[in-house]
């Protein structure tokens, strides 16, 4: 790893350690937890979009699968939460894998469309199967318990999520600087070049898609347990677009950019909570402005300006 990466990781750890002591009340704790959760999701998504150069406009669908697995399986079938999470992740892996194989032969617009279609189908299914999922109104999610200890307080959740974030950052930085990661980035840089050095591009595209989908599924489960409730909106098109916006704004192909994007765009809806309808306008404007003026995203653009790497 580059020196800067270590620095960044250290900064993240430092901030996470200090945060609980300076946040004034539980509203901010909750916000911080949501930011961290989104950051992890976005890191996973960025591996797919930024590093591997692919696209997913339906990623919230995978969040939904994980979230609803953690809601439905314990509630209706008596699954232990951890098992439910694993089942959700497995189901996601299968669905993502089955769909990815044929669609990653496509490029650009077609690929985007396919991922979008998948996300919408998942959302509609979650909305319709009301007997299992509670329909459009959603359903409650039982608390997450491990070895008899229930995860319930803000503080507990914070440390769990913060640890997961640090692990995600560390793991992603490692992956990027490894043979697998280089193959992925080469795939983005030049598919033909990566092919002639032996990268099986179909297999890699499917792998990274499934990996980032499973990431999302697990985080969907965690979100569900944290909030205690889940609705189909969690898995809708707008949420997928929010996630892509976080990637784009924070910086494609930047792990720390993912964190920045997640933090900013989790805070934004909160700030706009009183201005109904404007949230959509602002998100849309942010997307457009960012792609036009800061196509590389915040962190990479700033990093380039200050002459650093990474």
């Amino acid at each position: 790893m580059h020196k800067n990466a270590y620095l960044g990781l250290g900064l993240v750890i430092a901030v996470l350690l200090v945060l609980p002591f300076i946040l004034p009340n539980s509203y901010y704790m909750d916000l911080a937890i949501r930011m961290a959760i989104n950051a992890i999701i976005v890191i996973g998504l960025n591996l797919l979009i930024g590093f591997a150069g692919q696209i997913s406009l339906g990623h919230a669908g995978f969040l939904g699968i994980g979230a609803y697995a953690s809601a439905v399986l314990p509630t209706h079938f008596g699954f232990h939460p951890l098992l439910a999470m694993a089942a959700g992740a497995a189901a996601t892996a299968v669905i993502a894998g089955v769909v990815a194989k044929p669609i990653f032969k496509l490029k650009g617009n077609y690929l985007a469309m396919a991922t979008l279609g998948l996300g919408i189908i998942i959302n509609i299914a979650l909305r319709n199967e009301a007997q299992w999922t509670g329909g459009p109104d959603g359903m409650a999610v039982p608390a997450f318990a491990l070895f008899g200890i229930e995860l319930s307080s803000d503080k507990q959740w914070y440390w769990v999520v913060a640890s997961l974030l640090v692990i995600s950052v560390w793991a992603s930085l490692n992956i990027i600087d490894s043979p697998f990661g280089r193959a992925l980035r080469a795939l983005h840089g030049s598919e033909v070049a990566s092919q002639v050095v032996g990268v099986n591009i179909a297999r890699y595209k499917v792998s990274i898609f499934v990996l980032s989908a499973v990431f999302a599924s697990i985080m969907g489960s965690i979100t569900a347990h944290y909030i205690g409730f889940v609705t189909p909106n969690f898995a809708d098109f707008f949420h997928s677009i929010e996630l892509v916006t976080m990637v784009v704004v924070g910086g494609m192909a930047s792990v720390f950019g993912s964190i920045v994007g997640a933090v900013l765009l989790t805070a934004l809806p909160q700030a706009l909570a009183t201005f109904e309808g404007w949230e959509t306008v602002v998100f849309g404007s942010v997307l457009m402005l960012c792609m036009i003026f800061l196509p590389k995203g915040l962190v990479p653009t700033l990093a380039a300006k200050f002459g650093k790497g990474d």
Binding site: I49, G53, I55, L57, V99, P102, I103, K105, L106, K107, G108, N109, Y110, A112, M113, A114, L116, G117, L118, I120, I121, I124, A125, N128, V192, F237, I241, V244, V248, E276, G277, W278, E279, T280, V281, V282, F283, G284, S285, V286, L287, M288, M291, I292, P295
Partner: protein, 291 residues
């Protein structure tokens, strides 16, 4: 049996005509600029919503309708100028994201300005349903089909017989070559956005008396229109029209015979199917990359 089938067919063709217009809009813009305009659906929504607005303001219906077509066309041109031109040559993913952003802005503004309510327009020639072989057909459906057909034929004439139309086609085949023979490709781009928005708006207006309109109808209509365009073969006008009708009919049949709850999912199952097995669509051609 037959009457049920006909019923589904009629409603499928009616909504399919809207998809066809949306698909044509996608095709126009895609051919002129290689951009997939995710905001296409919002033009459809604008048509319906603005028509309602102007009618409610007391304007005579023809004026209201005209404005409801012209204003979205202007929005289309504005969008092209502000969002597409600055990033000419950006990669596909970036362009998709920009048009998604534009669609959010348009939808959000309408939501703020006109609220979340659902609105309707009076049918053009009354609501008295027509009975055919046991199935009912709304007169408005005939309007939808008639006007859509008229537009399709006009477009065909435009592209094959007029100089401007041929210039647009030339630009879609090879932009550089078109510029070299003196075609103003920027104007072609403007025109394609304006026409595409206008087409969408017309579709939105036509169908509002049947399915009503609100600030968020654009999402699904646009996406399904895109499905239709891909089904027909991205870039192929005839394919867009047939694709639209096909998607509409399959959706209605699926909703009627299989499950109405999953009506909205049908086009997307279809698109996955098409993308798996026939990504070039019904009429799309093959292409190879030069290395």
């Amino acid at each position: 049996m037959l009457s049920q089938f006909l019923q589904f067919l009629f409603s499928g063709i009616t909504v399919g005509a809207t998809y066809a217009l949306a698909a044509l809009g996608f095709t126009l813009i895609y051919n002129a600029s290689n951009v997939i305009n995710f905001a296409q659906g919002e033009f459809i929504m604008l048509g319906g919503m603005l028509a309602v607005l102007f009618a409610q303001m007391g304007l005579p219906l023809p004026i209201a309708l005209l404005l409801a077509i012209v204003i979205p066309a202007l929005v289309g041109i504005f969008m092209e100028k502000v969002a597409i031109e600055p990033v000419k040559g950006a990669d596909t993913v970036s362009l998709i994201i920009i048009t998604i952003g534009a669609s959010l802005v348009i939808r959000g503004l309408i939501q703020v300005w006109l609220g979340k309510g659902t609105f309707s327009l009076p049918a053009f020639s009354g609501d008295e349903p027509i009975h055919i072989l046991g199935a009912t057909l709304l007169p408005q459906s005939l309007w939808v089909l008639a006007i859509t057909s008229l537009l399709v034929i006009s477009l065909w004439y435009f592209f094959s017989k007029t100089l401007t139309g041929k210039a647009m086609l030339a630009t879609s085949f090879n932009r550089t070559a078109a510029e070299l023979v003196g075609i103003n490709t920027n104007f072609v781009l403007f025109l394609s956005f304006a026409m595409s928005a206008g087409l969408g708006a017309v579709g939105g207006i036509l169908v509002t008396p049947i399915t009503m309109t609100s600030y968020d109808v654009g999402i699904m209509l646009g996406l399904k229109g895109f499905v239709a365009a891909v089904v027909g073969g991205l870039g192929n006008g005839l394919g867009a029209v047939l694709g639209g009708l096909l998607v509409g009919i399959l959706e209605a049949m699926g909703a009627g015979y299989i499950s109405s709850a999953y009506k909205d999912a049908m086009p997307f199952v279809l698109i996955l199917f098409i993308l798996f097995f026939m990504p070039r669509g019904l009429f799309g051609g093959k292409s190879t990359d030069r290395v």
